[in-house]
Symmetry: C2
Subunit: 439 residues, 2 copies
C-alpha cells in the first residue's frame, strides 16, 4: 500500500483531535483511503501541554517534544514545506495572519494537499489559496471550516451535483443559538443568557464575533462560493447580530408560532444571490426552529430534490477533527483538485434592500387612538400587503404592536417608516424592529 | 472535454426524471464531472407515454419512439450492453427478476458503471453485483436506493470516513410515517389513516410491503453493508410492521413525551450489529420524533462526531432522480470502484432477543387488586429495573397499564411474561405489547 504522510501544524483543541483519530483509526483509515496514512510530524509550540489530552506520543512532535520558540516552530514548518515525503498538511493554527497565509500558500505551491478548519482565512483570503490548489492540482479540504462535524461541504460538492442549490438557511453559530434557546426556554434576558453561555464555555470572554454574526458570516461566505459560485467579500456581507433581541421579541415570535434564530441566509433571486446573517423569525413548521442549544443545522433547498436538513455538532475537538480526517481520506483516495468543481454558475450579490421577504415589523408608539390606521395606511401606500396586525402585550410603557407583511422589500418598508415620521414626527418612540420571517 | 455516454433502462417515474435532469442541466453537469455527459439512448416499452411528463425527445428512445415488444426492448438492452461507447447504465426498471439481475450484471461485466435505485435487488441479490463492480473497477451507484433524495449513502461513504458509525436509526418509509403522523395528529385509527394514505397516493393498493416494514428493511440491509460491513440477508432481518399500532398506543406514547415511529434501527453491540425494522417510541427530544408525513430522516451516531440527522424527500420522481444524476457525476468524475471502500470492519448480526433496549410493555389484564404487584414482581425477578408504571386510561374494557423498563433484553421480558402466565393463567387478556424506546 502506498504511503500517505501527513503533517499537523498546530496541536490545539482541533489539531490534537486530528492526531488522536489518525493514530486510533490508522488501519481503517488506510483501508478507506487505499493508502497507508501516517502522521509524520506535528509542529506546536508546547508539545507536552498539547499532547496531554489524548496521550499523543511526544516523539511525533518536531523537536522531539520540547517546547519551541516561535523561531524554532517557524523553522520546523519550513522543513515540513520542503519535505517531499509529506503529502498533506493539516493547518489547525488558526487566525488570519500574513505569516499563516504564506505558510498555507507555500504548502499548496509545494504540491501538498491542504486541509484546514480556518473559516476566517478562507472567507477573507481564500481566493488565492483555491487558485493555487487548482493550479497545482491538489485538494484544499475545508469540511471542518463550516459547522464542525456537519458534512455540509461534501453534501453540496459531492452529493448535490445532480441538482441546483437555490437557497441555504443555517444555524451556524452555536453560541448565538445557545443564547437564544436559553432566552426562549428559560425566559432569560440577553445579558443573563450570554453570561450563562460564557460560564458553560460556549461563549468567549469577548463574544463579539459570535453574537454579532461575524463568525457565521465567515461560514456563509464559504458556502456562497461553493453553492452559488459567488465571490463575496466578507466585509460586504450584511451582518446583523442578536444583541438587540429582547425577551419580548422572542415571546411575541412564539405567539406567532415562530422562534427567533440567528440565520445565515442566502438565496438566488433574479440571477443574483441575496445573502445575509440576521435574526429571523423561523416558523415552527421549519426544522430550523427545533434546533436548540449549541447544535448546528443547515437547510438546503434544491431545484429538483426540494428541502434538506443537516443537523450535527457545530464545534468540539473530536467532532471538528473527524471532518478534517474525512478530508484527509478523501484527498488520499481521489487526490485531485476536487474542491474546485463548480456547484453552480457564478452569481453576484443582490442588493439587500430590494430582496423580498415576509417581515415582522414591531412598532413602539404613543398610546392613543388612530395610530394603527395611520401606520397600516403608510404601509399600504408602499404597496405592501399586510398579513396580520397584532398588539404585543409584553411591553406596557408604549403601545407596542407588530405588523406581519406579505413578501416585500426593505426599501418599501423604509419608505413606509419615512412617511410615518414625516406625517407624525415623534410618533415612533423607537426605531421599528424589522425581522424577516422564514417559513 | 471527454465524452461520457449514459443509457437509461426503464423510463418510468424515476427514469424519466433522470432523463429530464440530464437534458436540462447538461452544461453544468458536464462542468462538474469534467466530462461531457450525454444521454445516448433510453430503452422503454412505451416511449410516447413515458416521454410525456417532461417532454423528452422521442428520438432519444431506442426504436425511435415507437412502442416496443418485450423482445424488442430486450434486444435493445443487449445492444446497450454491447455498445462500447456507453460508459454508464442507469437501471430504473425495478423488480428483482432473474432477467433484470442478468442485465445489471452484464452491464458491470462489460465494464460499464451502473447506477440504480433498485433497493430490493441490492438488498436481496446485491453481493454478486458489488463483487463484479469491484472486479471490473467500475462504480455501482445506489444513492437513490435508500431514502430517495437524502444523501445518506455518500454521507457514510464519503463524509464520515474520518469516523466510525456506531448506530443508525431512520424513518425510511414515507407511507408508514404518513399513516402514523395522521393517527397522531388527527386522532385517526390505523385503517382510516391507511385509506387516506392510499387516497393521497402515498400507499399502494396493496400496502403490505410498506406497512410491514419490508420496504424499510431493504434499505436497512443496504445501510448495514455500507456502515458496518455486515452481510445481512433480507430474510434474516427482524421486521415488525405498524399494523398492530392502535390509537391508544399513540396517545399513551404522547403522554410519555414520545411519538411512535417505524424505525430502521441498527447498532453495534459487543462486536456484533443488532438490526431490526420496528415501531419504536421515539422521545420528543430526538429529532426523529419531529419528522412527520412522507419525509424521511436518518439519525447517525458516530464515535467521534456524535449525532447527525439527515432530513429530506424519501421518494418522488425528480427527488429520486437527482440522487441518480449525482451518482452519474460522481462516476464520471472519479471513475473508480468507490462503493467498495469499507466504512467499517465487518460485523455479523446480533441475536435480537439478547440486545438491550429500554422497553414500554403494555399489559391488558383483569381489573382487580394485586395485579400491579404480581406483574412488577415478575419483572423484577428477571433482574429488570423498572423506570415507570402508569395506568393507561384509553381503554376501559380491561385494566391496561404500561411498564417502562430500564435497558434490558427481550429474553428477560419474555421470561417475565412466561412467569406471569404460569402463576396466573388467563390473567393477561391479550399478549403484552412490547415497544422499544429510542432516546
Amino acid at each position: 500500500m502506498k504511503k500517505f504522510s501527513v503533517a499537523i501544524l498546530g496541536c490545539g483543541t482541533v489539531g490534537s483531535g486530528v492526531a488522536k483519530i489518525l493514530l486510533d483509526m490508522q488501519p481503517m483509515l488506510s483501508a478507506r483511503a487505499a493508502h497507508s496514512i501516517t502522521v509524520k510530524t506535528i509542529v506546536d509550540l508546547f508539545p507536552a501541554k498539547s499532547a496531554r489530552a489524548y496521550n499523543i506520543p511526544l516523539s511525533l512532535f518536531s523537536g522531539g517534544g520540547k517546547d519551541l520558540t516561535k523561531e524554532e516552530a517557524s523553522a520546523y514548518i519550513t522543513e515540513v514545506i520542503n519535505d517531499s515525503e509529506i503529502d498533506l498538511v493539516v493547518e489547525t493554527i488558526g487566525g488570519t495572519s500574513e505569516y499563516l497565509y504564506s505558510v498555507m500558500l507555500a504548502a499548496v505551491n509545494a504540491k501538498k494537499h491542504l486541509v484546514t478548519a480556518n473559516k476566517a482565512m478562507l472567507a477573507e483570503k481564500g481566493a488565492g489559496l483555491f487558485a493555487a490548489a487548482r493550479e497545482h492540482n491538489v485538494t484544499l479540504g475545508y469540511e471542518a471550516s463550516v459547522c464542525g462535524a456537519v458534512p455540509i461541504i461534501k453534501a453540496i460538492r459531492e452529493c448535490f451535483t445532480g441538482d441546483e442549490v437555490q437557497e441555504i438557511s443555517g444555524i451556524m453559530n452555536g453560541t448565538s443559538n445557545y443564547i437564544l434557546s436559553r432566552m426562549e426556554h428559560d425566559g432569560l434576558d440577553f445579558q443573563t443568557a450570554l453570561a450563562l453561555a460564557q460560564k458553560a464555555g460556549y461563549a468567549e470572554a469577548d463574544p463579539t464575533l459570535d453574537i454579532s454574526g461575524g463568525d457565521a458570516a465567515h461560514k456563509l461566505v464559504i458556502l456562497m462560493k461553493l453553492a452559488f459560485g459567488a465571490d463575496v467579500r466578507y466585509a460586504d456581507l450584511q451582518k446583523t447580530g442578536i444583541q438587540t433581541i429582547a425577551k419580548e421579541d422572542i415571546d411575541f415570535a412564539n405567539e406567532m408560532n415562530c422562534s427567533i434564530k440567528l440565520i445565515c441566509h442566502a438565496k438566488k433571486s433574479r440571477g443574483k444571490v441575496f445573502a445575509a446573517v440576521m435574526p429571523m423569525m423561523v416558523h415552527h413548521d421549519n426544522f430550523l426552529s427545533k434546533v436548540h442549544g449549541a447544535t448546528n443545522c443547515v437547510e438546503v433547498r434544491n431545484a429538483y430534490s426540494g428541502k434538506h436538513y443537516f443537523v450535527g455538532a457545530g464545534a468540539g475537538s473530536l467532532e471538528t477533527a473527524s471532518s478534517i480526517v474525512g478530508d484527509i481520506v478523501f484527498a488520499a483516495r481521489y487526490g485531485t483538485a476536487v474542491e474546485n468543481i463548480p456547484a453552480s454558475t457564478p452569481h453576484t450579490l443582490a442588493d439587500a434592500e430590494h430582496s423580498e421577504f415576509a417581515y415582522n415589523i414591531t412598532f413602539s408608539t404613543e398610546d392613543r387612538p388612530g395610530i394603527t390606521g395611520l401606520i397600516t395606511s403608510a404601509i399600504g401606500d408602499q404597496h405592501i400587503n399586510i398579513d396580520t396586525v397584532s398588539h404585543n402585550r409584553h411591553n406596557t410603557k408604549n403601545a407596542v404592536f407588530s405588523v406581519v407583511t406579505m413578501p416585500c422589500t426593505l426599501h418599501q418598508i423604509n419608505g413606509a417608516i419615512a412617511a410615518i415620521n414625516a406625517k407624525a414626527p415623534g410618533l415612533l418612540a423607537e426605531e421599528p424592529k424589522i425581522i424577516p420571517i422564514l417559513h
